[in-house]
Amino acid sequence: MTSTTKRQVLVSARGLEVHFPIRAGGLLRRGTGVLRAVDGVDLDVYRGETLGLVGESGCGKSTLGNALLRLVRPTGGTVSFDGAEVTAMSRAQLRDLRRRAGMVFQDPFASLDPRRTVAQTVGEPLEVHGLHPGRQARAARVRELLELVGLDPGVAARYPHEFSGGQRQRVGIARALAGEPDFLVCDEAIASLDVSVQAQVLNLLRRLQRQLGLTLLFISHDLSAVRHVSDRIAVMYLGRVVEVGPAAAVAAEPQMPYTRALLSAVPLPHPQLERSRRRIVLRGDVPSPARVPSGCRFRTRCPDVFEPCPDVDPALQPVGSAPGHVAACHLHGVVGTPVQRERPGEPVDAGDPAR
């Protein structure tokens, strides 16, 4: 998993920002602020690995996944895919990116067009990119794809409403794989499924990843599932990646207080363990992405907050013992950009959501 040999970067984000203007209604539609959904993310995805991206709702993990594929336009920073600059791609290059990078969505009931058959849905990328031309070749490829994801090829003519959630998600995966992509983004792909069905889909994704040599970005709020499928884990908080490292290291020795709290909050199905475990219960709520606290954005809830936290925006730095384990936390040494203030000594905005 954690081979120390030279690994090739497939997707890479540098200082990636996705800010949404907050608009007040009314005739003039003035911008009244920005929502910093993704706010300066540095992240590399290595070829052939599964990178798990975890975080709580509203942390920007989905937006990040979409921005990497330019399904949402970044407002700042850069993304490169296999060496090509995604943010500066031409129409033709973008079409090629759409073939080489697929996406699996959360809700299998919403992600399939109810008026199109399974064959039409799975065959759409083939049509769009002119792959396997000819009616028969295309139908054969669709059958092949359905078999690949564990569905009976005979279902090609059926409509989505005839399927269960797990089966629909398989159809969604088949569609994402139709163009033989290198990179697959799974955006909460198991969140709406029942536990036993989740396991089926997780197993399928792992098998496909090995079988096809896919690079997988597995976005989820479910830490146990992420831990299970991922080679590396990235933790996001309030628009920023705050810790990245080998899955085992992040799960066993989290280095950033937020990751620690997140891990400790995951309920485990072992009663004795649960009784003896100490949960770190965080204070309050996640601040609004429209009012990001200065310096370290976790400081308003951090149990270990100390002096430099409001003044220096922490950068990712090597932590722990595992190679490639980085975290953005001053507890490991104050590294980062000092916060610019209009007047020195001015009290720092706490970014308290209650205000």
Partner: protein
């Protein structure tokens, strides 16, 4: 850490592949819609009556016993009888024949004006809803302006500029309904545009044109279909109103609205002169409305899954 004794006894045999629910053989969607419509008695009866009215309009010359202007000089303003089931008018013309022949005029004006409004309005609504931003602002403000004119006044203005006649009546009524279709379409498109399957299709590289034609329009269609049915009712009424005001088809061509206008002067002596064309209008309008309501129910996806027994 703790180990589960036997975390889920691993299956002895390879797990059987998940059975696909034995659903009915794939049916085209329109067949399903028709089937569901047949189970809605009001809508079904309305549809049958409308088909009959259209047949009457198509075969009007065969069905009408007399020509539109055949006069029976000795028998003006006769009450209904075997010879003239709807009576005769002040020139001794057969009201039944004229109602039958008028169906073609009324329906033609209705269908063509709604077709015009449907095409133009849906296109505008699609563009405004799908692209949003300035496209939406520009197109919809234009529609608002159009909508702000009282419908009849707008029609009168158009006819006043271009002259009376069926073609101009069609144009006038059509233009009046364009904003309605544009709004209905836009509202529907705004909902569909945000659907995950549209994003999913975009994520595999589908072009805007493809998204609009393959995904957005088919899924946004139900309210537009309902609106079409209801607009047809209003268009038939509007045609009658314009004819009544002398802005539609000209005398002596038969048209329900014209007959109503002409019969008004004789309402006390000859009720049949106004009642029968009026009834034709009422029945047609009512049926289009009821069919529209029925379609609304049938095309509602929630209703559909409930009745067809599919879905979650």
């Amino acid at each position: 850490m703790t180990q589960l004794p036997t975390p889920g006894a691993t299956p002895a045999q390879p797990p059987p592949s998940e059975p696909i629910p034995a659903a009915a053989p794939p049916r085209p969607r329109w067949r399903e819609t028709l089937g569901l419509l047949a189970r809605n008695p009001t809508a079904a009866v309305s549809a049958v009556v409308l088909v009959l009215i259209v047949l009457v309009a198509v075969f009007d010359e065969t069905l009408a016993p007399d020509g539109p202007n055949d006069q029976d000089p000795g028998r003006q303003l006769q009450p209904p009888s075997w010879a003239h089931p709807f009576g005769t008018d002040e020139f001794g013309r057969d009201v039944f024949s004229r109602v039958v022949l008028g169906a073609a005029t009324s329906l033609r004006v209705g269908f063509l004006s709604v077709a015009f409004a449907l095409v133009v309005g849906t296109l505008i609504g699609l563009l405004a809803g799908f692209y949003g931003r300035w496209v939406d602002d520009t197109l919809m403000r234009l529609m608002d302006v159009l909508f702000a004119f009282p419908a009849v006044l707008l029609a009168i203005a158009i006819v006043a500029i271009r002259g009376a006649g069926p073609a101009n009546a069609i144009l006038a009524i059509g233009i009046v309904y364009v904003p309605i279709f544009a709004r209905v379409t836009r509202a529907s498109v705004l909902g569909v545009r945000e659907e995950v399957y549209v994003r999913a299709s975009r994520s595999v590289g589908a072009s805007d044109w493809r998204l609009i034609t393959r995904h957005v329009l088919p899924n946004a269609a139900p309210p537009i279909i309902v609106q079409t049915s209801i607009s047809l009712a209003f268009a038939v009424l509007a045609e009658a109103a314009l004819s009544f005001l002398g802005l539609g088809p000209r005398r002596p061509n038969p048209s329900w609205g014209l007959m109503l206008a002409d019969g008004r002067g004789f309402i006390e002596q000859a009720w049949w002169y106004t009642v029968f064309p009026g009834l034709a209008i009422v029945v047609t309008v009512l049926c289009f409305n009821l069919l529209g309501d029925g379609l609304r129910d049938v095309l509602d996806p929630r209703q559909r899954t409930l009745m067809a027994g599919g879905g979650r």
